[in-house]
């Protein structure tokens, strides 16, 4: 590890994303504004007009067009970044699948916000969870500092495995709150990300190609199978890139999951993003009165690190999985269902239940965090409880 005094900056989550983009200096940024992610591209557009980056900034008429422009630019070999949130991501939905299947390493700075209806601009994870099967790598960051570093890592990850990556921060809670970000020097960023080596380029006149032609029954399945394999292989790449980053720059960012006081835990909570910060404190409070409770923060949701979850939970008796969105399927949220499925192979499976919380930015106070821990304790002690509990909603 290199010991180096890092530049400390006071940045909001959006500023942290924008600053990372400035240091990355992408070839093309095509974006459309949406609360609470607007600032990312607004700040970046200022960098462009002030001549601080060499980026071609494409102001488009919708998010569908934003992602389409990103796809075109990326297919020509450019390094491309965009930012969006909520309805914007939903409007991109069709194009998200095209970006991933064409194996274009686009990076998306995403700010988590609830989906309409009813209209709501505040945080939950229903937007990116709705895109969970779009073939994008998804990294849910806890705070502005992690968001900043993840966006830089995302460029390397995306361009190594040729898959698009979205890095997310919780809307308002992180996107608009100021925190300390320990930044890299621009030179360090540029060296770490290197130059993109595209799989192909539509602008290479020496090697003419046809991109995205009709595939039908005879080749579609083969192309999908390749994409599935790329997502599997991305696990090794994500690990390599984040570990190299940590070693080079002296950080200790978790790769797929972060474990907190799990060593001798009898029961555990799984949380994502900013709620994990609150939960760490709740764990400390309960630990201080002798409770053997721990926390696992799930950071990478796509690809899904089921092997690690099976391993980390194999000795606990009960787990509470927190979801900041609901699948509206009568059996809880997406995180819960996938975590639960990961445990199926265990010989003695822990008891498990789901806590859906914070929809539409509903506050997640300490008392709710402690309530969740205490419920999982009851579950561990054999009490029969509902499969899914909604925390923080008025009855």
């Amino acid at each position: 590890m290199t010991e180096k005094e890092r530049t400390k900056m006071a940045l909001t989550g959006n500023e942290a994303f924008a600053y990372a983009m400035k240091q990355i200096n992408p070839d093309v940024v095509a974006a459309y504004p949406i609360t609470p992610a607007t600032e990312i591209v607004q700040i970046f557009a200022k960098y462009v007009s002030d001549g601080e980056v060499d980026t071609e900034f494409v102001a488009v008429e919708s998010e569908h067009s934003a992602m389409s422009a990103c796809i075109g630019a990326s297919a020509s070999g450019a390094r491309v970044i965009t930012g969006t949130s909520s309805q914007g991501l939903a409007l991109m939905h069709e194009m998200l699948y095209i970006a991933s299947a064409l194996r274009l390493p686009i990076v998306l700075a995403e700010v988590n916000r609830a989906l309409s209806a009813p209209i709501n601009i505040h945080c939950d994870h229903s937007d990116t969870m709705g895109s969970r099967d779009a073939g994008w790598i998804q990294i849910y960051c806890e705070n502005a500092n992690e968001g900043y570093h993840t966006l830089i890592q995302a460029v390397r990850i995306a361009e190594t495995v040729n898959l698009p990556v979205m890095a997310t921060l919780d809307g308002f809670i992180i996107s608009h709150e100021m925190e300390v970000v320990e930044s890299l020097d621009t030179q360090e960023v540029r060296e770490f990300i290197g130059k993109r080596k595209p799989l192909y380029s539509v602008l290479d006149v020496e090697k003419p190609i046809m991109v995205g032609p009709l595939d039908l029954t005879d080749y579609y399945f083969e192309h999908k199978r390749q994409q599935i394999e790329a997502m599997k292989k991305s696990k090794a790449v994500i690990k390599e890139v984040i570990e190299e980053y940590n070693t080079k720059f002296g950080f200790d960012f978790p790769v797929f999951i972060e474990t907190y006081r799990m060593e001798d835990a009898e029961y555990a909570i799984l949380a994502m993003s900013s709620a994990a910060g609150t939960m760490k404190e709740a764990v400390d409070i309960r630990r201080s009165i002798g409770e053997k409770v721990g926390l696992v923060r799930l950071k990478v949701f796509r690809p899904f690190p089921f092997e690690l979850l099976t391993e980390v939970f194999k000795n606990v008796k009960a787990i509470g999985v927190m979801d900041r969105s609901d699948s509206v399927n009568s059996m809880g949220g997406p995180v819960f269902n996938e975590v639960r499925s990961s445990l199926y192979e265990l010989e003695t499976r822990p008891r498990i239940m789901n806590f859906v919380f914070g929809l539409g930015g509903r506050d997640f106070p300490m008392e709710d965090a402690l309530h969740i821990i205490d419920r999982v304790k009851e579950l561990k002690d054999g009490k029969k409880l509902d499969f899914v509990e909604y925390v923080g909603v008025r009855e």
């Binding site: 064409l102 194996r103 799989l199 046809m210 991109v211 032609p213 083969e222 192309h223």
Partner: protein, 99 residues
């Protein structure tokens, strides 16, 4: 032709090399076919301009291009050529394709 498995295909849903459209014989889609009459045709080239599949054949007659027939490998039978052929000429008519 043996179709390639997923491990053999280039990654990224693209086809290397051009022109790839030559390999796709769109003629197999045809349900009716244009029949061209060399005695009526004035070689005005309207059919050649409009044909979406470049299936009108031209040949060189003493240094001038003349329409000389239809390439049924690629003609998909859309009928545009018969439609645009001037009414006074009517050098192309459509016939049902025998299946």
């Amino acid at each position: 032709m043996k179709k390639k498995g997923w491990k053999e295909l280039p990654e990224g849903c693209f086809i290397p090399g051009v022109p790839t459209s030559q390999d796709l014989k769109t003629g197999s889609w045809r349900t009716s076919k244009p029949v061209w009459d060399p005695n009526k045709c004035t070689s005005c080239f309207l059919c050649w301009v409009y044909c979406p599949d470049n299936a009108i054949i031209l040949k060189d007659v003493g240094g001038d291009p003349k329409v000389s027939g239809i390439n049924y490998d690629y003609c998909k039978g859309c009928g545009i050529c018969a439609d645009v052929c001037p009414p006074k000429v009517k050098a192309i008519h459509m016939e049902r394709e025998e299946l």
